[in-house]
Point group: C2
Chain length 709, copies 2
């Protein structure tokens, strides 16, 4: 029945003030109100309906996204929304679109890498959307290894232009969102070649580079600031002066601003279907090839490096590390998105687990709600706790980013490597856990979770690329490991900072073992954090010791890569746990709010401890007995979460529109709505399916031999 709240009894069980928790989740009352306003704006606007999305063909789907994007932009303009409001509006529209890249990558990149002059020229155009831009870095052949990009940008001093070219098939730009159909411009990353044009194919280039290498004495492709000049006398009696530089970003117009047709020399299109039905297929991830496309010199972004009119390459005194600042920013938003995606999935699975009853009926009474099964709790509640943990670590990363920015402005680069490693690691940890967590939530919903109308399949399909873009999650953990190994090796003379500060206490962490003796002893933030510190420190040190056995450190690193990744993950988990603990040391208003969060914090930590108990035991920090006590405490904690479970997911304040799930409906009215929705499938348009007379009737009537198949 409409209007009835089938979860009312669950909501009555809550032991904390849900409204206050909403504020704690949002970060502040203002943040809550802003986000709430935008959520309702979208939810109440039929233009943003999304139920039919998965049934659309690719073309209809894309057109529909263009429509929504336009409608969204109209609202932003008409209602004069602030940038912050616009961001939330786009988030709640909940449909990947070219605008994500335009606002999220193209504009920030120009802001970060453009000169004042360039910003003055391009930003107003972009901010008014008179041009639409995307971020074209990845190529068919290179993603993780950005240094290996093959697209060339050769400076032609005669014309004062760069010639952008795709010398090989694998140099085709491939993946950039918004590139395929929507963008008029792209920020293209390419190998800068100054001092002469280079027309070689890959093989020739390789010869050239290898000659350069022997000349310079170390691999050119690995050096960033070294600019080399080399003279080659080729068979064609051609003299080439070659400057091998870092990849640079170039603003390249792709399509006419009049008729939107690709400009001469540009081949551009969509790369085809991706995972899922609607999901990320609303985005025109694109392919792009250049055939000697010319752009003015001033369309190279020149904040950190310039090419002069005369064809001279110059590094400005703004250090290249500055660009890391943008990376910290982007990855910080990815962590924050992880908490959103995971909390959505958890909200759906939690509500449905309270609605769903299976087994355990006594005397003909109702069956047990599946949320009451301990196995269900032990799969679901750690994810609920993770959603909160990621929310708070994301908040902290936002602070870290502003801190880094301020320091950079004051020319203080000291914390940058640590901040960079930390965001890389947290991006990897949170996105992997979220992707796996969404799928676990789907399984927690049994068969019905497999229906698109549960919302979970599409959420999974649209989310998982976060594990890959902005750095493959394994490659990122290897970067963290590299930083940890370095930190350990320098302990003798360099004080570790930020999230690695605990390494400064390595001697104590190696020596002192856990002192927990009872189940209750585990309810102690100090004991918890120390356990995670000791495990992470011991694993890093063990890796360091193993590495020391290798003559060639690079070989050692390669050989031990798996162990290094485990150590890096241990370090990142420590960060999440300690930021959660730190959060709880702050004042958090509202009846029962802090207490409920404390329970979740313990759940998160002890769940990890149980899952990775092998590492805690192997490093000798824990005894088996202590691990058992932790596990027992965990069970008790689940019972404490149970009455609050629905209220804890209500606190995310998600509208039914944003959730997009019949199983996760706020009112719990699942079955009638599932039943209704089924009939909307096109297959139910007719009683007898299209194709029956051609392909089934002949079988039933044993007349297949004369049938036309």
């Amino acid at each position: 029945m409409e209007g009835v709240d089938y979860l009312i009894d669950e909501r009555k069980k809550a032991q904390f003030d849900v409204e206050a928790m909403k504020v704690a989740w949002a970060g502040s009352r203002e943040a809550f109100e802003l986000s709430d306003r935008m959520a309702k704006l979208v939810a109440n606007d039929p233009a943003f309906e999304k139920f039919t999305r998965p049934m659309l063909s690719r073309k209809e789907l894309f057109k529909n996204t263009l429509r929504k994007a336009a409608h969204g932009w109209k609202l932003i303009v008409d209602l004069r929304l602030t940038e912050e409001e616009a961001k939330w509006l786009r988030l709640y529209i909940d449909e990947p679109a070219y605008t994500d890249l335009h606002w999220g990558m193209f504009i920030p990149a120009i802001e970060g890498q453009g000169t004042e002059e360039q910003k003055k020229k391009w930003l107003p155009l972009a901010r008014r959307m008179q041009i639409i831009g995307c971020y074209a870095q990845t190529e068919l052949g290179h993603g993780s290894n950005v240094q290996g990009l093959e697209t060339t940008a050769t400076f032609d001093p005669q014309a004062d232009e760069f010639v952008i070219h795709s010398p090989t098939l694998t140099s085709s730009k491939w993946w950039p969102g918004g590139l395929g159909k929507a963008s008029t411009h792209a920020l293209v990353y390419a190998r800068l070649i100054v001092g002469g044009e280079f027309h070689g194919v890959h093989g020739t280039l390789r010869k050239l580079v290898s000659s350069l290498n022997s000349a310079v004495g170390k691999p050119v492709s690995n050096c960033i600031a070294v600019v080399c000049i080399y003279r080659l006398c080729g068979k064609m009696n051609l003299s080439i002066v070659y400057h091998r530089c870092f990849n640079e970003g170039f603003i390249v117009q792709l399509r006419s601003l009049e008729d939107h047709l690709p400009l001469p020399g540009i081949t551009v299109g969509d790369i085809g279907l991706k995972f899922g039905n609607g999901a990320y297929n609303t985005m025109d991830n694109g392919v792009l090839r250049f055939d000697h496309v010319r752009i003015p010199r001033d369309q190279m972004l020149m904040r950190v490096a310039q090419v002069t009119k005369e064809g001279k390459f110059r590094q400005s005194d703004v250090p290249r590390q500055l660009l890391y600042g943008t990376m910290v920013y982007v990855r910080q938003t990815i962590v924050s998105d992880a908490s959103k995606a995971l909390s959505r999935a958890v909200c759906i699975a939690t509500r449905y687990s309270a609605v769903r009853r299976q087994f355990g009926s006594r005397n003909g009474g109702p069956e047990t709600q599946v949320i009451d099964y301990k196995t269900q709790q032990s799969r679901l509640f750690p994810l609920l706790a993770s959603a909160y943990a990621f929310r708070f670590v994301g908040e902290w990363l936002k602070w870290l980013y502003t801190d880094v920015k301020q320091r950079l402005e004051a020319n203080d680069f000291s914390t940058l490597p640590e901040a960079h490693a930390c965001t890389a690691g947290l991006k990897s940890l949170t996105t992997t856990a979220t992707a796996d967590g969404i799928e676990e939530c789907r399984k927690l919903c049994g068969g019905h979770g497999y229906l698109v109308s549960s919302g979970l399949p599409e959420l999974f399909a649209v989310y998982i690329p976060a594990c890959t873009y902005e750095g493959d999650n394994v490659v990122l953990l290897l970067q963290v490991a590299r930083f940890l190994v370095k930190t350990v090796s320098e302990l003798g003379y360099k004080q570790p900072v930020g999230t690695t500060a605990y390494m400064g206490r390595v001697a104590a962490l190696m020596q002192n073992n856990c002192t927990v003796r009872t189940v209750e002893d585990w309810l102690n933030p100090g004991a918890i954090v120390e356990a995670f510190e000791a495990r992470a420190a011991r694993m890093s040190v063990a890796c360091g010791r193993q590495l020391a056995k290798f003559e060639n450190p690079e070989e050692g690193f390669a050989e031990l890569a798996s162990d290094l990744v485990e150590a890096a993950l241990a370090h990142c988990q420590l960060i999440v746990v300690s930021k959660f603990v730190e959060k709880l040391q702050q004042d958090i208003p509202g009846k029962g709010v802090k207490q409920s969060l404390e329970i979740l914090c313990y759940v998160y930590a002890l769940f990890l401890l149980h899952k990775h108990q092998g590492e805690f035991l192997a490093t000798g920090y824990l005894t088996p007995k202590q691990a058992v006590l932790a596990n027992e405490q965990l069970r008790t904690l689940y019972s404490k979460v149970r009455p609050n479970a629905i209220a804890l997911v209500d606190s995310f304040n998600y509208t039914d529109h944003y959730l997009g799930s019949i199983l996760g409906r706020y009112d719990g009215n699942v079955y009638p709505k599932l039943y209704e929705a089924a009939w909307q499938d096109p297959l139910n348009d007719s009683d007898v399916a299209d194709g029956f007379h051609q392909y089934v009737q002949p079988i039933l009537k044993q007349k297949l031999h004369s049938a036309k198949l």
Copy 2:
């Protein structure tokens, strides 16, 4: 270039005879040849093209599947294929269709549960496909708890008919494959009510049942064979004689054999979109409601229980446990399918990992193949090993099934509970690992794995329901746990059999710890199996001890469910490991074949040991040092797998058609084919996207205010 084998160098590295390994994988030369013939038959027939599948609308998709099913059936008839050949043919067509349920569930259920007479009547019709049947058990409200089904089948002695009825919304049949559009008949499971008609709604039924409960003294819904009679005088002055029986299966005709329209009283349709694009959406999983539909008495399957003309309910002397035999059969096929799905994913990821190069170029030479990175190996090779492990345990399960069948025919039920627990556990273990493994393979392919043309998204989407159907994987592990706990508690007086035989040596397994001292010591099947036995036995015993602390064993079981599931998994892993080891004690012909399989067996076991080292350490069987040695050995083993990796996946003998993956192409010609495929997306039909003029141009031209959105 066409015709070039880009993986030829990889193939040359193989240290074993690939053709012999193909036979080992297939099980026998005959099996290999049969499967190879069917694979080629499908691959070379353009009627089975599947590249465009994900781009079709639901209706086109379904029609296309009907066409393929008809074409497949025509081949089967025309070529007079055997049942075995037909099974492989359907497998290689690689598209879920109503025929799967017809042949895989409907027919076997009649074979298992029908009387001789019933089989004589229905099987010829079904085998000639003059009728199409599905298996309708699950309802909107009940899946795992089959005992809770609400559909009623009330016997009307006057008419000698059953009245099939859906008394509640949640009693609607929901999920059965082939039900929505294709089937003419369904095998419907329903609560049998004999001795009077029952017209109550759920509430009334509940009252009735609770009265029955108090009369009988224990929950009626839990007792199987007890038939109770009770007399109620309702308000309507109606006297009801009520036989509460086990759910029974009924053959119900759903659609006219003339025009395929649903028969009177039948509401039937498709339940809507499921995960993925093509994937399982080729199947018409259906919803079905009955409004007092009448069927003749002899359409209840009566092998184990009968209702007589007079309305008497009788159990025959064929025990109900016999039905478990069918379950063992079906789950055995699921394990075998797991090895197929996982090996497909692994084949794609392995080949692509050899093609893909990223980082590590020296002197301008080619970059490192990503398969050479230890992290890539440590993620990929255990999955490769798992595919082989599941293949062999599946083979063994097939043997187990024939053994069980023979025993049942000889009225020996002694091994049935163990066989039942064992197949339940192996179904759970292999399908969970396969689902996770496919997704890991996708991630191993970086960005390109996210493209549908990689084959991996659709493989994942179509595979994952295997974790849910035929028993939710967690519910199944709980069943295994129950069996283990029982086995442990009876150790004093009952010799454990089959896969639990090791429990008979529990004292030794509790006492003796691992004796490994060097890295090489781990290359010892005895040491490996003993480690897994000790861990499983110790975990089961620990659970038993914990359970003993509870007054009410059921409460204890519920409270400790998570730990019990872990113990059950440990037991199941032991089975897989020991069946792999046993396989290697057989004669396996072919140069290097056995040696290569031995390496994989060690990889599988030591990978599990590392992953679950917490359990091996916590139970005290291993020391941290021994765990480290195992991990070191594992690294060495990866290096031994490396040169054989491509050959090991070639040995699956999959055609490019069956793989359906550009990344997994046999010839490794990935990039040109990815590039070509992109242009086939409908979005690339025109240079300017549909919707541009309406929804993008007005933005660029700042004319949104006057645009029609």
